[in-house]
């Protein structure tokens, strides 16, 4: 046993020495290429939070050209500690902008950013830049779209019962649900919004059963947030219950019952950040995507025959939120 320990230690040292010789050749980025790295909590194809960022970066790349704009990503970084290592590593490789796409990464960023003053960091979704001049913050006013959806839901519901499936009651998800509830109650006072927080971002089966429960309780409209709701959408479709999506477009999953989606267009704020960085401003500001700046978009499903008066009411809600006459979080 003692021998084993010694040998293992020797071996590790040997491996370390070898590694030490091999490493260290960092490529220096050509200055004209803008390089972005992003760290995300779930997979890039989650049809939700992470995908919205991936899609935004792809959109910018399509616009600027792959030779002018590069981006790399670390997905499924649900371990905060691993994310911190990734952020530091990207920073040391001289990326222009490093996006920490998840509120849980804040503490790590606060620690790492001061070590790389020439690198710009972005943190979402929040409005807090820690007072650092190389950190941008960005947030989605998810409640805005939520409110608009809520208005439509209230008008489309016959039973007056609306079900919400959420992961845990926090952040982006909470904002959306709060806005949604406000929209419903503002439109139809007696309508009831039942929320089900299933305590997980990944339990598709439980999300689906939560949707079943809502339907059993009389809901004829469902909405939900985060990547596990794909389970709930299937249930909605099977039962002919309407669905409202958020974060990314979920229409493709159930074209017959998805009414509309609130789609995040992070490219709106990313472009602003990029131009600031190119003008040597590395941070210190926070950004919002809103209905007003086009970062949030209510995308109607053309395959669903939305009654005109509902569409009109939705548009009115959008206009009201944009001009400030409606507060989506009363």
């Amino acid at each position: 046993m003692k021998h084993l320990g010694k040998i293992l230690i020797l071996l590790t040292v040997a491996v370390m020495l070898l590694a030490g010789c091999g490493g260290g050749e960092e490529e220096v980025a050509a200055p004209e290429v803008f390089r972005v790295a992003v760290v995300m909590p779930s997979a890039i194809n989650d049809l939700a939070f992470s995908q919205s960022m991936y899609d935004a970066l792809s959109a910018i790349q399509a616009e600027r050209g792959a030779d002018k704009f590069e981006f790399v990503y670390s997905e499924s970084m649900f371990v905060v500690d691993d994310a911190a290592a990734a952020i530091r590593d990207y920073a040391s490789q001289g990326y222009n902008l490093i996006i920490a796409h998840g509120s849980q990464y804040g503490s790590s960023l606060q620690e790492i950013a001061p070590e790389f003053p020439e690198t710009s960091f972005a943190w979402g979704t929040t409005v807090d830049t820690f007072g650092l001049d190389n950190v941008f913050a960005y947030e989605a006013r998810a409640e805005e779209g939520g409110y608009v959806m809520g208005v439509m839901a209230a008008m489309l519901s016959e039973s007056g019962i609306v079900g919400v499936v959420g992961p845990i009651e926090t952040g982006d998800a909470k904002l959306y649900v709060d806005g949604f509830t406000a929209g419903v109650t503002a439109t139809k006072g007696e309508a009831q919004v039942n929320a089900n927080w299933i305590g997980s971002f990944s339990d598709v089966a439980l999300a689906s059963e939560a949707a079943q429960t809502h339907i059993g309780a009389g809901a004829d409209i469902l909405t939900g947030t985060a990547q596990m709701v794909v389970g709930a959408i299937g249930v909605a479709e099977e039962n002919g219950v309407l669905w409202f999506g958020t974060q990314s477009s979920q229409t493709s999953l159930a074209p017959s019952i998805v009414v509309a989606n609130q789609v995040y267009r992070w490219e709106v704020v990313l472009k602003e950040m990029i131009s600031l960085i190119e003008g040597q401003t590395y941070g210190g500001q926070s950004f919002l995507i809103t209905l007003e700046n086009g970062g949030l978009e209510v995308e109607f499903n053309s395959a669903y025959a939305l009654p005109d008066e509902v569409k009109t009411a939705a548009q009115a809600a959008i206009d009201g939120i944009v001009d400030g006459s409606i507060d989506p979080l009363p």
């Binding site: 989650d46 049809l47 990944s202 059963e209 079943q212 429960t213 059993g216 309780a217 999953l253 159930a254």
Partner: protein, 310 residues
């Protein structure tokens, strides 16, 4: 407001969804029952389920045939089971750990295939609830029992079949003997390795089926890590049920009904923090174990590799 729980609609809902939610647990746990009865602890169930779920979904999605999907799930599960069998029977690896390895492998591989072969979340039109003339029309009972899809019925038939195989067939006799006393079985010319290969591979196939029951019957989507710990609960249920198929079913039903109850608690706006509601099934499972004092002994040879003459 607690009173709201005791309405007919809610009780029917809890029972019906409890029966439905128990489906994947049943397939996986019955498969695990077989392998544990023969002395092999397969902790890789979750990984096998994920692979099965993906295979079922992908094949159904591309060919349009749910039955082909089902077949694919079973075959992929069998293959995973074969690998597990080889590692734990021939290589005599520590089963608890190799199981975790298979879990991680299945988790990663299913996700990888999903990203490379599908790219995004898609849906299929899965198995629909079957209308059974008359039975489905019975009030309440019909809603609870006779408004489910074929894989749900299959799961409960499987429980009966498992009981039958374990208690009424020669292979069942061999399985039990090999799990209790491989030396005795070996001395009568029963091949311990062959029996264990059979159960572990069968367990793999059933785990694959459990995955399929999620991806093409209950949920009709595939998403990375969609089982989210379900396979581990299934293993726990085997212990809960004391390695007896009907008791395992009881455990699965209890767990899923409490899970469905907690969803109702939230939907009915009963003022309990959602976190505590989510905790309920786990707490109750422990309490159930404490009050139903366990007198059942695990199979004596569980997790012990067999080698003649040792």
């Amino acid at each position: 407001m607690i009173g709201n729980l005791f309405t007919e609609a809610v009780l029917v809902g809890i029972l019906a969804s409890g029966i439905r939610l128990a489906t994947p647990y049943l397939y996986a746990a019955i498969g695990e029952t077989f392998s544990q009865r023969s002395g092999v602890l397969n902790l890789g169930v979750e990984g096998q389920m994920l692979i099965g779920a993906f295979a079922a979904f992908f094949v159904s999605f591309t060919t349009g045939s749910l039955w082909l999907g089902l077949l694919a799930a079973i075959i992929s599960g069998l293959l995973m089971g074969l690998a597990m069998a080889f590692v734990s029977i021939n290589l005599q690896a520590e089963q608890g750990i190799s199981g975790i390895g298979f879990y991680l492998f299945g988790l990663g591989l299913s996700d990888l295939l999903f990203q490379k072969m599908l790219g995004t979340v898609e849906t299929v039109s899965g198995f629909r609830p079957i209308y059974i003339p008359y039975l489905s029309d019975i009030p309440i009972i019909g809603d609870i029992f006779f408004n489910q899809n074929i894989l749900v019925y299959g799961a409960y038939l499987l429980v009966v079949a498992a009981w039958f195989v374990l208690n009424k067939t020669t292979i069942g006799l061999k399985i039990k003997a090999v799990g209790e006393s491989p030396e005795a079985a070996d001395s009568l010319g029963v091949s311990v390795a062959r029996v264990r290969y059979f159960t572990v591979i069968l367990g793999g196939g059933l785990s694959g089926l459990a995955g399929a029951s999620l991806s093409i019957a209950l949920l009709n989507v595939f998403q990375q890590n969609m089982t989210s710990g379900l396979g581990f609960i299934a293993v726990a249920l085997v212990y809960f049920g004391g390695w007896r198929p009907f008791a395992v079913m009881g455990g699965a039903l209890l767990f899923s009904m409490v899970n469905s109850l907690q969803l109702w608690v939230q939907v009915l706006n009963i003022p309990i923090p959602s976190d505590f509601a989510v905790m309920m099934p786990y707490v109750l499972t422990i309490i159930a174990l404490v009050i139903t004092v366990q007198r059942v002994r695990p199979p004596s040879a569980l997790t012990k590799p067999f080698e003649r003459g040792h």
